[in-house]
Symmetry: C2
Subunit: 304 residues, 2 copies
């Protein structure tokens, strides 16, 4: 709790230590969490996702610079659900973000999943709460890759940016499969390359075909060349528009509510998991062909 | 249950329909599962994983051909936990496997995660049980990518092959981070390329540094050029050796037991999840800053 005070006072090392605590799932987290609660809810949490190679890190870096120019403080949380196997990509990101290393208004941290699946989905809301409570105006939540776990992570954001680049082959193809539902803003990065107009056309067609409610937010499309900071101001403006719309429409509140519902359900299930006993005995019966796994699961829940 | 009989009789469409049922998590699965139980436990389930580009599909195809030459029947289950966003890779795999399309001793199926995380980890054991009960001698379980969800999927195998290729940069680097624990056999594919010897040397050093118990299986290393079917017979021999060792040492039984424990725990948790009520009320209290998420989770479990 002293740590929370220090972190809120702007002590970078205290923030980093809190995040390590969160990442490791250490005991005492409930206490930390409780101390953070009065201070959360102010940061604009912006998710950034997209296939490898579309320029997520460069865009994150350009956004950070532009937000700093507006006088806003920025925290970057790069999350890699595909770890423990990779990690390299995140290291690369950190290096590319070095331009902000000496700026006290910028905090950068990467987080990888340690151990069990779901560990990261559990740690992310806590980590965002730390950064939010520490007073950052904007938290950029960057995920590596676009798999199912990434969708869970990015679902923690108030505004979701999905990055695409022309000529990435199955960019739009991939998008069709599931990105439409989570994107608030499509960012066509590397827009100075051949095929950018086609990508935008396909996106428009896809959005037109979407089945969102008429009152829902219509995903915006912004073209950028992140390496030259082109289009970044437009992107910031659209991000603000979405945030304003979400506040006014009640979408933000609804999204945050659903987020907390998922979070506490997951925590509750962790508690239940610890109480499940006798699984091995039932598993032996399954292996012997005496019962099927569904029946075994039923028997197992009786132990609760 | 009629479907189970038809599938066991070798009706390919019945097998496909059973797998669709499993994938969709449809009701009535318990009944299907129960009908399968007496017939499972005979197939050798071989997991094949590795980073994109190491030649998983080619190796799977070459293994299939070699196993067919030995008179064994083969089912290939290609699983992509990173869907709903991709899917393209799997389609490519299917096309490459077309050489086996007319062989009734080969069954090929790809499976993607539909909807919630964990759906695929839940569906995979059921799908393997279907293929096992249908009498395939070997089931090749191929995963796309090497993330955390892939590790969960590949953990369903009796024998795990981890594929590497020379000159993939961080191949070994990645391996260090977590592959060592799950690999029974390292396959250095594209072994005719520069750097193969170095890759093997690094693998040997890594295995020597490992902390496995002296009685445990020491991961084997096999060099292959899957496109020319070179080394595939060696690989088959090592796969058989591992299977024999696992049977004799009790490792196979232990692995299968742990697998079923995880499966029925997951099913039990699904049942519990449905019974968790009132999450939204507690979530509102969290958003209002009145309680922290841990306390909310505690309150939620009281409802069970």
């Amino acid at each position: 709790v002293q740590l929370v005070d220090a972190a809120r006072g702007g002590d970078t090392r205290a923030i980093a230590r809190l995040l390590t605590l969160v990442e490791s799932g250490a005991a005492g987290l409930a206490q930390v969490s409780s101390a953070l609660m009065p201070h959360v809810g102010n940061a604009h949490i912006v998710g950034i996702t997209g296939a490898p190679g579309v320029g997520k890190s460069t865009t994150t870096s350009a956004l950070t610079r532009a937000l700093r120019d507006q006088g806003k403080t920025v925290a970057v949380l790069a999350v890699d659900p595909s770890s423990p196997f990779s990690g390299g990509a995140l290291l690369g990101d950190r290096v590319r973000m070095q331009g902000h290393a000496t700026d006290p208004g910028v905090f950068i941290r990467s987080m990888a999943s340690r151990g069990h699946l779901g560990g990261l989905s559990a740690a992310t809301p806590q980590a965002l709460r730390v950064l939010d409570a520490c007073g950052f105006d904007v938290v950029l939540l960057e995920t590596v890759g676009v798999g199912q776990s990434e969708v869970e992570v990015i679902g923690q954001a108030d505004t979701v940016l999905v990055l695409l680049a022309p000529g990435m082959g199955d960019g739009i193809q991939a998008a069709k499969a599931g990105i439409l539902e989570i994107a608030d803003v499509f960012v066509v990065n590397k827009a100075d390359r051949d095929g950018a107009a086609a990508t935008i056309r396909e996106l428009r067609a896809m959005i037109a075909l979407g089945t969102r409610a008429p009152t829902a937010w219509k995903p915006a499309i912004v073209s950028t060349v992140a390496t030259k900071a082109e289009g970044i101001d437009d992107l910031l403006a659209v991000m603000d528009q979405h945030r304003d719309w979400a506040s006014r429409s009640g979408d933000l509140e609804q999204r945050r509510l659903q987020r907390v519902v998922r979070e506490i359900e997951a925590l509750a299930i962790d508690r239940v998991r610890e109480r499940l006993g006798g699984a091995e005995e039932h598993a032996r019966a399954v292996l012997a062909g005496r019962i099927d796994p569904y029946r075994a699961a039923e028997l197992l829940t009786y132990s609760l």
